[in-house]
């Protein structure tokens, strides 16, 4: 036992965290982490995996003592043998940023917007090395930025967060996290907010910290692909409990817990033909397109002597009824803009966007209003796209009220029908969005979108805000509804694996242009465009052995590509 303890960097034993209800202090506290044990060894990467509400982030934050004031922590957290639970403020401060560095999920919001990156990194250094001279601190900051693969450390240090890309910011965050040569890093969903090609670079960087500096990493993630790519050991959590604790290869090869198996099964896998598509019947090819875009160009801004920003250029494709086109691209590629153009939400500068044969750009206001009832739109985050003060019933009935002349009685009947179609029951009718889970909320959003029998359904990242297991069920639902109602679907996503599950055809976008268009199977198995190849190679798969091979392939492709665009870090 003693021997193990000396090699462990971080030992967590019987950790429990409970939150007291602020409004009802006498009520029993709500337990969110219950009896969690794990050991993080020197130079190892331990992944805490779980879906939202599993307690993985709370566990990690309790190590740093960064829980809200109403949290009660019990059990033991030992860092290099020293107890952190109940330690005094000065000890905890010395650990934060000193012995343990932290990387957060959203690099865009994790930096203070009004200070330069240089100032923020310097602050971290000075806090733990108060004797250093200003010049030394500056030199150290630049050296750190360089060590995390930032090409122009001086420029980055002088920049404010809003001037930089997500990849640059996350690298800077890592530079700040390792500024005091910590023995361990906590990486809380470090790549979730990043594009897949940027993610691959960041994962590589974290891996090199482990290999070169012997830094232990506590990785918190929901993404099995990231786990397979980086983790040595895995702890699977579910509603505050540890479901399974295993080394990474063993876990992926033979998951023991039923929950782990379920989780792995729900992960969409690239390169496997999707069951959802096989069951859909092929449609006659001569059927005219339900929605079409021809040589469309969309610009933002401009005027007053400033050049316009081109968001989409010469986009051309068509979607036939009953078919799904997956529109794939990284952030800033113009995929969402193009999706919005199909709903007439952004003006098209030139070219045509046709829905049901009518050009949205030239349609009159009345035509446009009528046309909108033929278009359903599902947004990314159902928590913010549904009005929090409307019940589920009201939300679904609204399009019926606006776009049909049904009586209240007929509307109610149709709402019940729709609830049934999205596998919700009548009991949900009077609930408010906050009383529903993320998956249920997205079902309501889908019911709303299909209420008027649209000929085109636009789904903009409809599952990005959902857990994998929920995502799988929502994708099933979309496929079923399409088979039943025969609408054409424009499925906008950053995730190739998700698109593969649902789309008959794929269009890959980059910097406003469609770089590749074709049947899903062909594009994903034998892509023509080098960009598609890089995108495919960068997406991690939930299999450590396969992922290691893919990683090598990705490095080769990334090196081939021009360096500025290759790592996706250029602003």
């Amino acid at each position: 036992m003693t021997e193990i303890e000396t090699r462990d960097v971080l030992a967590v034993n019987a950790l429990s965290v409970a939150f007291a209800d602020r409004d009802a202090p006498t009520a029993p506290p709500r337990t969110v982490v219950d009896g969690v044990d794990f050991h993080l060894g020197h130079g190892r990467v331990l992944a805490l995996v779980g879906e939202s509400g599993s307690g993985k982030s709370v566990t990690a934050m309790s190590v740093l003592g960064l829980l809200p004031a109403n949290a009660r922590v019990e059990g033991s957290i030992r860092l290099e043998g020293r107890e952190l639970v109940g330690a005094d403020a000065a000890t905890v401060r010395a650990v934060r940023g000193g012995r343990i560095g932290t990387i957060f999920q959203e690099p865009m919001s994790a930096f203070n917007p009004v200070l330069t990156l240089g100032a923020q990194i310097a602050e971290a250094i000075v806090t733990h090395h108060p004797r250093l001279r200003r010049r030394e601190v500056r030199a150290r900051s630049l050296e750190l930025l360089e060590s995390v693969g930032i090409a122009e450390p001086l420029r980055i240090a002088r920049s404010h967060p809003h001037e930089l890309s997500g990849g640059q910011l996350q690298r800077s965050m890592i530079a700040m996290a390792i500024s005091s040569d910590p023995i361990a890093l906590i990486a809380d969903e470090p790549t979730t907010a990043l594009d897949v090609t940027v993610q691959a670079g960041i994962l590589d960087l974290i891996r090199s910290l482990r290999d070169d500096r012997g830094t232990a990493v506590l990785l918190i993630t929901h993404d099995m692909g990231v786990v397979a790519d980086l983790a040595d050991d895995v702890v699977v959590m579910r509603s505050g409990h540890v479901e399974e604790r295993e080394s990474s290869p063993a876990l992926f090869a033979a998951p023991q817990a039923g929950y782990t198996r379920e989780l792995l099964r729900a992960v969409p896998r690239l390169g496997e033909t999707a069951a959802r598509l096989r069951s859909s019947e092929p449609l006659p090819a001569e059927l005219s397109a339900a929605a079409e875009v021809r040589a469309a160009r969309i610009e933002y801004g401009g005027g007053w002597g400033r050049p316009a920003v081109v968001a989409v250029e010469s986009a051309t494709f068509a979607i036939r009824p009953g078919r799904t086109l997956g529109l794939v691209g990284e952030s800033g590629s113009g995929k969402s803009t193009l999706g919005r153009a199909f709903a007439g939400l952004v003006p098209v500068r030139s070219g045509e966007v046709l829905v049901g044969g009518i050009d949205l750009a030239r349609a009159s206001r009345r035509e446009l209003r009528e046309l909108r009832s033929a278009i359903g739109y599902v947004f990314q985050d159902p928590a913010s796209s549904l009005d929090p003060r409307w019940t589920v019933g009201d939300a679904i009935a609204e399009p019926l009220r606006l776009g049909s002349d049904k009586t209240p009685r007929e509307r109610r009947a149709r709402v019940l029908e729709l609830l049934d179609a999205v596998r919700l029951s009548e009991s949900h009718l009077e609930r408010f969005p906050h009383e529903l889970s993320g998956g249920q909320r997205q079902r309501v959003a889908i019911a709303r979108a299909i209420a008027l029998h649209p000929s085109l359904l636009i789904a903009d990242e409809p599952t990005s805000a959902l857990d994998v297991s929920v995502q799988a069920r929502v994708l099933d639902l979309l496929a079923d509804l399409q088979r039943e109602f025969g609408f054409a679907c424009l499925f906008v996503s950053h995730d190739l694996a998700v698109v593969q599950e649902l789309a008959h055809e794929v269009a890959v976008m980059r910097a406003g242009r469609i770089v590749e268009l074709g049947p899903t199977e062909r594009v994903l198995s034998a892509p023509d465009s080098p960009y598609t190849r890089r995108l495919l190679a960068a997406a991690p798969v939930a299999d450590p052995a396969q992922q290691a091979a893919r990683r090598r392939a990705w490095r080769g492709l990334a090196a081939e590509a021009d360096p500025a665009a290759g790592d996706g870090d250029a602003a």
Partner: protein, 332 residues
């Protein structure tokens, strides 16, 4: 360079707005049925006298020529009448009060020190106390401190200035006899008396306004302390005081600065009620007199002067915001 461009654009915009306000103000007041010539025509007001008065004032000209004369006067100064009876109004001429026989510019400048003394002192006081109170309660919402500050601020928000002022005079002036009850002593004459006479007006204004600032700061502080970068700052191992001030307050203060600039600009244009309550002859008192005797030139000049102050403070806020918040420049 970007900062210069940013400031340049803002100043240009301000000049355009000022010009528009000038035209509008001029139009509103000169299209009124009141005839300035009639008002100062004297008795008996023969048609001949009336014509002469109109000619003297320039109100016999078409409206657009009057406006051009007015605008020219701002830049070059202007003369009313000719010969021995002529009066000169030096640039920048914002009109001439025929009732008080003085240029509006001179009248305003003579009263400005009084109002500025009240406004600036009060503003500093309310900014400091309001922000301090807001930070103290925003750091721990629901705590005893928070409830205390919010209770006091409710009182401040709902109490009218004249009531607070009169109560203050009653208590500190008449009952305790600590401070003078009214009047203004120029700073150059006696700095101590200047301070003593201003203390009550300052506190009165600050009490009612600081309340708003405390509430605004509190809300901003609570929001900011929930941001991701606050968690990052704590995870770096910073002391809580540094987290709150450098990362929390620095961001929370931005909207407060904006509101402060506007309030100060408005206040410099006249602290009517406080001047009345403490019997001080500032801009507010000047305006009240001007309105009651229908001194149109004075009212127009005064309106423009207030507008000018508000716009200038707006430009200053914009530039300050550009310095404090680098994101603001991106939209210049």
């Amino acid at each position: 360079m970007r900062m210069l461009r940013f400031a340049g654009v803002r100043v240009l915009g301000a000049i355009v707005v000022l010009l528009l306000i000038t035209v509008l103000t001029y139009a509103v007041f000169y299209l009124l049925p009141a005839n300035p010539a009639q008002l100062s025509c004297g008795r008996p007001c023969t048609p001949e006298n009336l014509r002469r008065a109109a000619e003297f004032m320039g109100t016999d000209l078409p409206w657009w020529q009057q406006l051009l004369e007015f605008l020219r006067g701002i830049v070059l100064g202007r003369d009313f009448g000719s010969g021995a009876a002529a009066v000169h109004c030096a640039a920048p001429c914002f009109g001439y009060s025929f009732q008080q026989n003085a240029s509006v510019t001179e009248l305003i400048l003579s009263r400005f020190p009084v109002t500025a003394s009240i406004a600036i002192g009060a503003a500093v006081l309310w900014l400091v106390t309001g922000v301090a109170g807001g930070v103290a309660s925003g750091m721990r919402p629901g705590s005893v401190v928070d409830r205390g500050v919010m209770m006091v601020s409710i009182a401040g928000v709902s109490a009218p200035v004249y009531l607070v002022g009169l109560l203050a005079i009653l208590l500190f002036g008449f009952v305790l006899r600590w401070l003078p009850t009214g009047g203004y002593i120029p700073f150059a004459t006696d700095p101590v008396q200047w301070f003593a006479h201003l203390l009550l007006p300052w506190c009165t204004l600050a009490f009612t306004t600081a309340a708003v600032y405390a509430r605004l700061t509190r809300g901003q502080m609570i929001e900011t302390l929930g941001e991701d970068y606050i968690r990052t700052a704590r995870a770096k191992g910073l002391r809580e005081s540094r987290v709150v001030v450098r990362h929390g307050l620095r961001n929370a203060i931005l909207p407060v600065v904006t509101v402060f600039g506007l309030d100060l600009g408005t206040l410099l244009g006249g602290t009517v009620i406080v001047e009345r309550v403490f019997s001080m002859q500032g801009l507010g008192a000047l305006l009240v007199t001007g309105v009651s005797v229908v001194d149109l030139q004075l009212v127009v000049g005064f309106t423009l002067f207030s507008a000018f102050l508000i716009i200038v403070s707006n430009v200053v806020i914009d530039v300050v915001n550009g310095v404090v918040d680098p994101r603001a420049k991106a939209t210049a």
